[in-house]
Symmetry: C2
């Protein structure tokens, strides 16, 4: 796996930004630890998902590339797959629920993806994606439950560990589980005894409960501002998470908004609510982390400026 | 002056951040030029004013330092002077109009400054500052019309020119004129034939009209979202601007908000409206700048998240 991860990183490098790592003296002083933020909000199309999309497409055969790729997502993976496909000259079909905001559909179109609308249910979108696979012979790429995606995601933490190999802890948000699984692999193969911790909204706590019960649990509610984290764990990433991740911290909605405000006000960077979940988790359990050297992956910066949670 | 500027930069370095220079492929493609943003929104306390405040205080005598400094401002210079004074163990008195927002007063207090409220008029605040000078023997430092301040401001452009000595054009916002004068000096002494252009809100166009008439003109309106640019030119900075600056571009309020949104959405960084004025000017007159290598100073990132102009 170590070799596969290194190969993946080399393969995607021409298509991604090596994002900066930022610090905030004020937040560090407040929390009493060394804190490094990997700024995937500055990644191309605004989120770490670009790494995964490029890795998935670059691993296709020539024949597969000619036919194209399909995914179902209205979030960052939709934009990432569209942009990565355009970079590589591959057609991209994105299945989007018909009630998705226009701004999301437009972003996919702007990156050259073809938007296919479907009835807004998990069932309908999987069925629609399957139909496109059968009709057009394209390759389906799942936004999180796919090893190519997981390895692509791992490269964010790998870049952090190149510069800070002595991190004690890495905290990342968990939604579909692709970033958490990827980060866990990066920490295992490139870190020195790093603890990887997931951060999850209390309102979409499938990963927390899955880790507890030992099997994949569904979300009971997904009523969270962290729209990137409403998705569910899958059978590819859950075993990796089970093996390498011991702890998931749950945070409330107001804690997410407070952490997001702290990042915006103090660091002067725009992160989406899903990214703030990781800092919210650290703040909530800060007594456990004093004196530690901690990395946080700020997963993305795509927000709707017309609809912000501050008041 | 060249030597004075270099000495100034060395003197303030321990107290300021060497802020990053960012690019945006998307904005460059849109405008058809090479574009570099000096991110003073990432400066300590969130604006370039920190450079000026540190430079002013470090040039005081020991006796002056013991007594302290005073300024009148409710904006970034107030916070900058408070923080710089705290760094250097100097008392700071900040005269603030009584109707200034609580959030501004609290920021000054957080940095250890003493807030002195006065009646909200230009007259009253100058009178109050003078009273403090007489009572306490402290040194008055003007937010923009002071050579120590102007030289401190110059260091932002100097850092840009260290990395990009071949810039064709530098565009900076103009309010009180301190940044424009400082940038003009930096360009003159460290650049190779760089044109420095001011960017100003149409609603606070004193610098534009002053350059035209050849004498300092007052603002007729200050009804602009760019709250840092409501101030007036002064007799120290105007001659420098007259000598080195040939052009000021005026922009409308909606152009400022659009440019600000572009920076937030595309670059994922938080800048205040005053900073966006420079990009708005470039966008407005973009036909003049095609193929050029352009630097913009993003002057600050202090915004009230509860009161944003997006809708």
């Amino acid at each position: 796996m170590r070799e596969l991860l290194l190969e993946c990183h080399e393969r995607i490098k021409p298509f991604i930004h090596k994002t900066p790592i930022m610090e905030s003296g004020m937040i560090e002083n407040f929390l009493g630890n060394d804190l490094y933020f990997k700024c995937e909000n500055f990644q191309r199309m605004g989120a770490f998902k670009m790494r995964a999309a490029v890795n998935a497409i670059t691993q296709l055969t020539d024949e597969q590339r000619t036919k194209g790729v399909v995914t179902h997502s209205s979030g960052n993976f939709a934009q990432a797959l569209a942009l990565a496909a355009r970079d590589l000259g591959v057609p991209a079909y994105i299945v989007v629920p018909s009630d998705a905001p226009e701004v999301k559909k437009n972003a996919i179109l702007r990156y050259g993806g073809e938007v296919i609308e479907c009835f807004p249910s998990l069932d309908a979108r999987m069925r629609t994606a399957n139909e496109i696979v059968e009709e057009k012979g394209v390759t389906f790429i799942h936004p999180s439950n796919d090893l190519r995606v997981i390895r692509g995601n791992a490269t964010a933490a790998m870049e952090m560990l190149e510069i800070h190999p002595d991190l004690d802890i890495l905290i990342v948000p968990v939604g579909g589980g692709g970033l958490l699984a990827g980060t866990a692999l990066a920490a295992h193969y490139f870190g020195a005894n790093i603890e990887v911790i997931g951060a999850e909204p209390l309102e979409a706590d499938d990963a927390y409960r899955s880790l507890l019960s030992g099997k994949i649990e569904g979300n009971i509610t997904t009523d969270t501002i962290a729209d990137g984290l409403k998705t569910q764990l899958g059978d590819v990433n859950f075993p990796i998470i089970q093996e390498h991740v011991k702890r998931i911290i749950l945070v409330r909605e107001n804690e997410i908004v407070s952490a997001m405000r702290l990042i915006w006000e103090r660091m002067k960077i725009i992160v989406e609510p899903s990214s703030a979940v990781a800092l919210a988790a650290l703040i909530k359990e800060r007594q456990d982390f004093e004196g530690k050297k901690i990395g946080i992956i700020l997963s993305g910066g795509n927000v709707d400026l017309n609809n912000l949670p501050f008041e």
